[in-house]
C-alpha cells in the first residue's frame, strides 16, 4: 500500500510541478520535499503497520493486488525505494541552483514514479517493461543528440531477453527435464543486464551520454535508473537462485567486471572533457560492482550494497561540481574552483581513492580478492589510477580562479562544499553510511 501511495504522490506532484514549471525553484523545492518525505516514510514506517480506512484494514507493507498485478514491498524493495527517493531529493535540491531546465522536476518525478513501480511490481516481466518506459521518459531530461539516442538503443535492445526468459521459465516449469531452457534463460538475462549496465563491450552509451548532456540529468540516469537496474538484478537472483549457482556465473562476472574496469581506466586517462571522465569513472565503478556480485555470498552482497551507496554519493558530488564548472561539453571550461574541487572529490570517490567514501567500500573488495587473485587487484588499482591521471590532466585549468570577475562565496559554493566534505568525511568515518 505504501508503495502505491508513493507512486500516486509522485505522479500527482509530477503533474503539479509541470504546471508550476515557470516557477522553477518552487517546483524543484516541492519535488525535493515530496521525495524526502517519501524516502524517510518508506525507511521509518514499519511495513507491518495496518491502517483502518473506509471500514477496511489496509497493510502498509507486504503484498497488495492492484489492477490484477501484485505489488510487493519486501525488505529488499524497501531499501531500493529509500535509496531512490533520497537520491531524487538530493538531485532536486542540487538542481535548485545548478540546473536551468524547466522540466527537471516534472520529468524527474515521473521517472521516479515509474522506477518505483518497476521495483515493486511482480512478476518481474512487468518490472522490465516499466523500466523501459522510465528509460524512454527520462530521455526528456536530455538536451538532444546521439548520446541520448545511444542510451535509448541499448536499453531497447535489452528488452527482449528478460521477456523471452520469462516464457522459457514457464516452459521449464512444465517440462523440468529440459535443463537447456534454464541455460538459454540465464544467457538471455545476463546479456540484457550487461547491455543495461554498460559492461564492456556494451559500454559506448555511458561516456557518450555523460559527455554532452547536463551533468545532473546524467547523474539521475546513472544513479536512479542505474540503481534500479542493480536492484532488479538482485531481485532476479533472489527469485531465480539457480542463476547464481551456474558454474559459469562467477567466471563470466569476473571477466566482464575486470574488462569494464580496465577499459574504463584506460579510456579515463584520455583528455576528452569532464563529462566523458564522469562516464569512464562510472564504468570503472560498475565493473567493481560486478566483481563484488561475482563473489556471491553474504559478504559479496553486503559489499554490493555499500558500493551502490558510495557510488551514488560520488556521482552526485561529481555531477554537482561539473554543473558548477559548466564544462560538461569539454571545450570551454567555466571557472568555478569550488565546482572543480567537488568534481575532483566525486571522481576520486568513484576511483576508490583514499580517504574518500568510495575507498571505504573498495577496500573491502580488494581485501576479499587479494588472497586469491593478487594480480587482478593490481590491475584494478592501476585502472583506478587511470581515472586519477585523467583528473590531473583536467584539473589545473579548472582550478584557476577567474580574476577578472571576483565574487563572494555563494549558496551554491556552500552546497558543493557540503557534498565534498561529505565525500571525504564519510570516507574517514564510513560507519555512518556503510558497515553498520
Amino acid at each position: 500500500m505504501l508503495a502505491l501511495i508513493g507512486i500516486g504522490l509522485l505522479s500527482l506532484t509530477s503533474v503539479l510541478t509541470y504546471f508550476l514549471r515557470r516557477w522553477r525553484r518552487m517546483s524543484l523545492l516541492l519535488a525535493a520535499i515530496v521525495s524526502t518525505a517519501l524516502g524517510f516514510g518508506i525507511a521509518l514506517i514499519p511495513p507491518d503497520l495496518t491502517l483502518m480506512f473506509g471500514g477496511q484494514e489496509w497493510s502498509l507493507g507486504g503484498t497488495v493486488t492492484f489492477l490484477g498485478r501484485s505489488v510487493v514491498l519486501g525488505p529488499g524493495a524497501q531499501v531500493g525505494l529509500t535509496f531512490l527517493f533520497l537520491i531524487g531529493a538530493a538531485l532536486f535540491l542540487l538542481a535548485w541552483p545548478l540546473e536551468s531546465g524547466e522540466l527537471f522536476a516534472p520529468v524527474g518525478l515521473g521517472v521516479l514514479a515509474l522506477l518505483t513501480a518497476a521495483l515493486v511490481v511482480r512478476p518481474l516481466v512487468y518490472a522490465v517493461l516499466i523500466l523501459e518506459l522510465a528509460v524512454a521518459f527520462s530521455v526528456l531530461l536530455l538536451r538532444g543528440g546521439m548520446g541520448g539516442a545511444r542510451y535509448l538503443t541499448f536499453f531497447v535492445l535489452a528488452l527482449p531477453g528478460p521477456l523471452v526468459a520469462h516464457w522459457l521459465l514457464d516452459m521449464y516449469a512444465l517440462t523440468p527435464d529440459q535443463t537447456g531452457l534454464l541455460n538459454t534463460a540465464s544467457v538471455l538475462i545476463g546479456f540484457s543486464f550487461a547491455l543495461m549496465l554498460g559492461l564492456v563491450p556494451f559500454h559506448p552509451w555511458v561516456p557518450a551520454l555523460a559527455r554532452r548532456e547536463s551533468p545532473l540529468s546524467v547523474a539521475l540516469i546513472f544513479s536512479a535508473v542505474g540503481g534500479t537496474v542493480w536492484f532488479l538484478l538482485l531481485d532476479y537472483l533472489q527469485t531465480y537462485p539457480w542463476l547464481g549457482r551456474s558454474p559459469y556465473w562467477s567466471s563470466a562476472l569476473t571477466a566482464l567486471g575486470v574488462g569494464t574496469v580496465v577499459v574504463g581506466g584506460l579510456l579515463g586517462t584520455t583528455r576528452r572533457g569532464w563529462g566523458a571522465l564522469l562516464g569512464y569513472a562510472v564504468m570503472v565503478d560498475t565493473g567493481m560492482l560486478v566483481l563484488a556480485l561475482g563473489r556471491g555470498g553474504a559478504v559479496g552482497l553486503e559489499l554490493e550494497r555499500a558500493m551502490m551507496l558510495t557510488r551514488a554519493w560520488g556521482v552526485l558530488t561529481m555531477a554537482a561540481g561539473l554543473s558548477a564548472v559548466g564544462a560538461a561539453g569539454g571545450a570551454e571550461h567555466g571557472r568555478s574552483p569550488w565546482g572543480a574541487v567537488a568534481a575532483a572529490a566525486g571522481l576520486l570517490s568513484l576511483a576508490g581513492f583514499p580517504p574518500t567514501v568510495g575507498f571505504a567500500s573498495r577496500w573491502g573488495l580488494y581485501r576479499l580478492l587479494f588472497p586469491e587473485q593478487p594480480l587482478m587487484v593490481l590491475a584494478l588499482l592501476l585502472a583506478s589510477a587511470g581515472l586519477v591521471v585523467g583528473l590531473l590532466r583536467m584539473l589545473p585549468h579548472a582550478l584557476m580562479p577567474d580574476l577578472s570577475r571576483p565574487r563572494a562565496l555563494l549558496a551554491v559554493d556552500l552546497l558543493l562544499l557540503l557534498a565534498t566534505v561529505g565525500a571525504i568525511g564519510l570516507g574517514v568515518f564510513p560507519q555512518f553510511l556503510i558497515y553498520r
Binding site: A136, G144, G145, V164
Partner: protein, 218 residues
C-alpha cells in the same frame, strides 16, 4: 468493425508470402533511402504488413489496436520529419545562402547518396542472416514466414539504429526492431497487458526520438 476484422482475417490467410515480400521492399525503403518522406512511407508499409502477419498469431481485435499504434507512430514521425526540414530551411534562409538540395526537386530523386551501396549491402546481409537464422534456429510457436519476418525486422532494425546519424534514424531503427520482437512475443505471451505495455513503449520511444531530434535541430 465486424466486416473489417473479417477482411483482415481473409487477407491474412491469403497474403502471408506476398506480405513478406512487400515487407522486404518496405524495409529496403526505410534502410536504403534517406529522404524522410520515403522512409515514412516505408514505416507505414512496415506497420501495415506486420499487422497482416500478426493476424496469423494473435486475435484480429488486438491487431487492430497495433495498427492504430502504427498510425500514431507514423504521424509523429511524419510531423517530426517535416519540422526538422522546416528548421533546416529556416537556418539556410537566415544565412542568406540557400544551399542545393534543400528545395524539393524531382531530378534529385534520381541522385544516389554515396552510402547507398553500403546500405543495400546491409539489406542483403540482413536478408541472408534472417533466412539462415530462421532455418538454423526456427522461432517457437510461430509459422516459418512469421519467424523469417521477425528475424528480418530485428536485423534491419539493428542495422538502421547502428548506421543512423540522427536520433530520428535511431528511433526508426528501434521501432523496426521492436516490431520484430512484438511479432514474435505476441505469439508467446497472449496477455493484453503485455501487448499494451509494448505498445506504450513504442509510443514513448517514438516521442523520445522526436524530442531528441527536434532539440538537436534547434
Amino acid at each position: 468493425m465486424e466486416r473489417f476484422l473479417q477482411w483482415i482475417e481473409r487477407i491474412s490467410a491469403l497474403a502471408a508470402p506476398p506480405a513478406v515480400v512487400v515487407l522486404v521492399m518496405a524495409l529496403g525503403l526505410v534502410l536504403v533511402t534517406r529522404r524522410w518522406l520515403f522512409r515514412l512511407v516505408g514505416m507505414a508499409l512496415v506497420y501495415f504488413f506486420v499487422g497482416v502477419l500478426h493476424t496469423q498469431v494473435i486475435r484480429p481485435e488486438v491487431v487492430l489496436v497495433k495498427l492504430l499504434i502504427g498510425v500514431v507512430v507514423c504521424l509523429a514521425l511524419g510531423v517530426t520529419g517535416q519540422a526538422v526540414g522546416g528548421i533546416e530551411a529556416t537556418k539556410v534562409n537566415n544565412s542568406g545562402k540557400p544551399e542545393k538540395g534543400v528545395r524539393f526537386r524531382w531530378r534529385n530523386l534520381l541522385r544516389w547518396r554515396e552510402d547507398v551501396p553500403l546500405r543495400t549491402f546491409a539489406l542483403f546481409a540482413a536478408l541472408l542472416i534472417a533466412y539462415a537464422g530462421s532455418l538454423r534456429f526456427p522461432l517457437p510457436q510461430v509459422p516459418f514466414l512469421v519467424g523469417l519476418s521477425c528475424y528480418l525486422l530485428a536485423m534491419v532494425g539493428l542495422f538502421l539504429a547502428g548506421m543512423a546519424e540522427t536520433p530520428l534514424g535511431v528511433g526508426m531503427g528501434l521501432l523496426v526492431f521492436l516490431n520484430g520482437f512484438d511479432l514474435f512475443f505476441g505469439a508467446l505471451e497472449p496477455s493484453l497487458v503485455v501487448a499494451g505495455l509494448l505498445g506504450l513503449i513504442q509510443f514513448l520511444v517514438t516521442f523520445a526520438a522526436a524530442y531528441l531530434t527536434l532539440a538537436r535541430a534547434e
